[in-house]
Symmetry: D2
Subunit: 329 residues, 4 copies
């Protein structure tokens, strides 16, 4: 039974905290949040106690921490928890700076403690099934990966300013997905970006519409496109073309209801909210962490996966700004 | 090269006439129609001559006739053509009376000439493929056949009055399709009908909404439903459930274009007009006739198929009127 | 906060018990089961106590019971609980005999306590959305309802013998769905049935493949077909054709993954297990019960709905046996 | 009635020749081909005469020529026909060299004769409908265009060597489609390519797997990917994401037949052969040419469209070779 402390009881913290509490192999022992009411509310709902972050990290009766605090606290908390001998699950990203991530991973490595990074989409039942079938050879040799990812609506500009930019904040999920599917590291990144959705995002120096092309050493190609807007829901699609065929995983619609009239056949919009769309993925992700730590195996995706996705996001950011292809790896 | 005379140059006559003219194994020699302009226009377009029905039947240089005249002329013309030694393709039905059909088939049998009845849907590439796969065992033993067939809009009441009623005029296609798919004769027919679309149809003693249940001797079941109205196009679907799986053939949409907005994902309506929906079926049907006659094999569906579908339509009509199940065969 | 006792902790009892325990407006107080270990296991998982059925019914601190015992105990337990002033949620059916149901409903009526019958499919998000849109007029006037329902595989013959037959055991769900969608009572039932899946079912006097046609007083038509087998999963579809268009709700596939090869485009099978397929429906159903009782409104579907579905199932059974149409209502 | 001469009676020449002959506003007068039997066969089938290319161009009774000869003859023949006052429909491309195209267009401009380039996909009913709806604003402002185009199998290496490379031979269709949909000229091209399908293609200096990213002055983005192989048919999809929604046009499957078994739901492969997939497009394209010339309006797509697509293909070729983004326009 893994005894878990939760750092951060905001929107995503509540999801992970609830999943820990409901897991047969874990107990949610303590919850910390800068907003006392948030910690208290989640603690009450899950039977955990409220504690400070420092107290949780210092508590020898706690085996693992789940970090859902703001991004700029992640690396310090990972290091502190690792030094305290705790297993760590940390929401992506470890940090907005690849250098800081590298330093952090070095500390974790020295501590010899497990670290898992929260790329939830790898655990979506659709995408996970696709990846397993791909790895089993159902599509043959991988040739072209296509990822289309569009948010229902743009975040507030204040959030955008602190986010590290679209490539690090949003596309990092798709860059990780591309790595997950390609099974080989990209060595070249070319990116373009525009501000077509909200001029304020452009004025803040960021883009809201973007595309990336990746190439691996053996010549596999990935194409990704992102928009901060999709009127028809949270658009999340992947497709892999290979020598034997094509594997793809489509969107999840709100219902299976369809209306046919003279105007055509209208199916439901796709699920709109990421917490609904990826509810099963968050459960499976947390289960993967708990199971790995309980079994003593290395959790996956690792800190290294977090670093590599961040390096691709850095490269994409640079490419979009300079118009030049950026080599990585 | 089969030399063909066409009796009737109306809407469906033009289709068959054009298909004869374009067929590599056939020549359209002559066209007859009660409306001279109709015959002349089609003759001009196809390089045929205009002739009277009697002259075509008497013409020893004509090998086969394609009958597209009004229903009440079919049986007489089939008999005359058969006696003249000609192969006959006749639009369904042979007659609205099963007794008249039986008498006509006896004449054809005595003449020993080929007769094919125009159940065009058997030649639709989708439905024909489904039937072939069914016969090949892809779905295992057939258990339940479901046919859904809805016209875009009701015919004029004047037409309804002369039509023999929905079961003989419209559902006869689906009854033939059920026979085609079941591979075994229905022995029981139960039907219900209502007038929900156009009250004038009900006042004329007919129905515009109907359903039928068929059962074969071995217990296979077919369900059919018909409506004289479908706002979203000409709805034509079949589905066969068997011991190994389900085979189905869906509708043909006008285009593959889809629009996704906050209101959902809207695909195009289905093709609205039967001559468009079944254009390929009419070509394949005529080709089957020409090929069979040229090869000296029996064309299919036969006059017997026309009779059996008519007997099912009679039984359905009677069942809907009496509320009783009707035995056939 | 509704204090609930659970009678029966088998497969479906565990689902309802868990949903009660997780409901913000209800507490699972006690669990009873003839198998002590079953009651103890569910009690431990939910924080409830174990008690006997009699004790639960006698317990004045319990407001409501959820009945998940074998069918032949339902009516007695409903009556006892109603007389004890408790609200009752009972799995379908109340009893295999319509007369027994009528007597039971009279007792409940005299007691003036709420009774809800567990027709879970009404609460499936897809079907519930379809019904709401239908009621809102999206498809216009209802003309033809089509329900296709196929189980993944046949139950054991021992179960079949005690089940009341396919029409009462399986099709009752679809008959209730037809009533739910038609918005008008069927007045005529015609049914056919065969044993095509498992000869032992036929030898036991039941059918495993069946179809029904219903007609209402105003002429609306419903067609239902059932099979005890579907190789491709638990097939659950409804379609309503109306004057303005068609509304349908399709199957729920295991994933959205699709593989395209020379053999075609293969999507995942549909969800195979009813507890998975209807997990959300069971939650919503229990919520509807708790909410209605807490608010003092009449829960829905009512005991009367249970009776009417049973009468249709009786009529279908009789029709399939006699070959005659049966009038109801 | 437009009197048309056909230059080249190969695979695509037969299609255009047949469409001219069947067109109510045109007559196929003469057919030329280096292989006499090819010209004779098509002439016999269409009622045209056989003539030499020079004779056709010199024939004052011929109003227009349709050029289906090998690419390296296109520019000379366009110039000769234009100088002879003839309207010209020419299969893409005008030439593999943009400079040669520019020179040719100057000659045509001086002659003042109509010139249309055969980008057939603009006339596909699905894609044409999508573009019309896009232009009508159904998707709002255009933000991201995605084009996926995969051939069923690679061409012979001998063809590849003379083809100008994948970007000029295959992707030029998609580059034209991107221009057609974007409604704005791309100003930046970035391309990557690999040889993953057939090593002999790589040894010949070409690629068989490629992707391109385009950006317009206002920031609209297009992504294209190509493969010379698709096991599941001729894959042709477009998708446009805009401020109000997404418009897409999917593949055309061979039939609507679907088989459901324990392995899932298998739909038919997509149409495999470009002449079948684009049969309707070729007819509509030829009709657009005949109609424009008969009406005296400018045919579309124009020689300028041919030049611009070629310039994008040149830029993509250069980008894939250098790894640098290439500016155009």
């Amino acid at each position: 039974m893994l005894r878990v402390g939760l750092l951060g009881a905001g929107r995503i913290g509540k999801i992970h905290g609830g999943n820990v509490a409901a897991h047969a192999g874990a107990t949610l022992v303590a919850v910390a949040d800068a907003v006392p009411a948030a910690a208290e509310s989640l603690a009450a709902a899950t039977g955990a106690k409220v504690a400070s972050i420092d107290a949780i990290i210092a508590d020898k009766a706690i085996d693992a921490v789940v970090i859902c605090t703001p991004t700029d606290m992640h690396a310090d908390q990972i290091e502190a928890a690792a030094k305290a001998g705790k297993a760590v699950f940390c929401e992506k990203p470890v940090d907005l700076s690849s250098d800081r991530i590298r330093a952090c991973l070095a500390v974790v490595k020295a501590a010899g403690t497990p670290l898992m990074i929260g790329f939830n989409r790898r655990f979506d039942p659709n995408f996970a099934t696709l990846q397993k079938r791909l790895a089993a050879g159902d599509a043959g040799n991988i040739e072209i990966v296509t990822v289309i990812s569009r948010d229902p609506g743009p975040p507030p500009v204040d959030y955008v300013k602190r986010s590290g930019g679209l490539f690090r904040d949003m596309m990092i999920h798709d860059l990780d997905m591309a790595r997950f599917l390609l099974g080989e590291e990209p060595v070249e990144v070319h990116a373009v970006g525009s501000s077509l959705v909200d001029p304020a995002i452009g004025q803040a120096g960021d883009v809201d519409t973007a595309a990336v092309m990746l190439k691996t050493a053996s010549g596999k190609i990935a194409q990704i496109s992102n928009s901060r807007r999709a009127t028809y829901g949270y658009d999340q699609r992947i497709e892999v073309h290979g020598s034997k065929g094509m594997l793809r995983a489509g969107n999840v619609h709100e219902t299976t209801v369809e209306l046919a009239t003279a105007g055509g056949f209208t199916a439901a919009p796709v699920q709109n909210f990421f917490l609904e769309r990826y509810a099963a993925a968050y459960r499976a992700e947390l289960d993967a962490f708990v199971t790995a730590v309980n079994k003593g195996t290395a959790p996956n995706p690792s800190g290294e996966d977090g670093l590599k996705a961040q390096m691709l996001a850095d490269a994409a950011t640079q490419s979009a700004q300079t118009g030049q292809t950026v080599k990585v790896g």
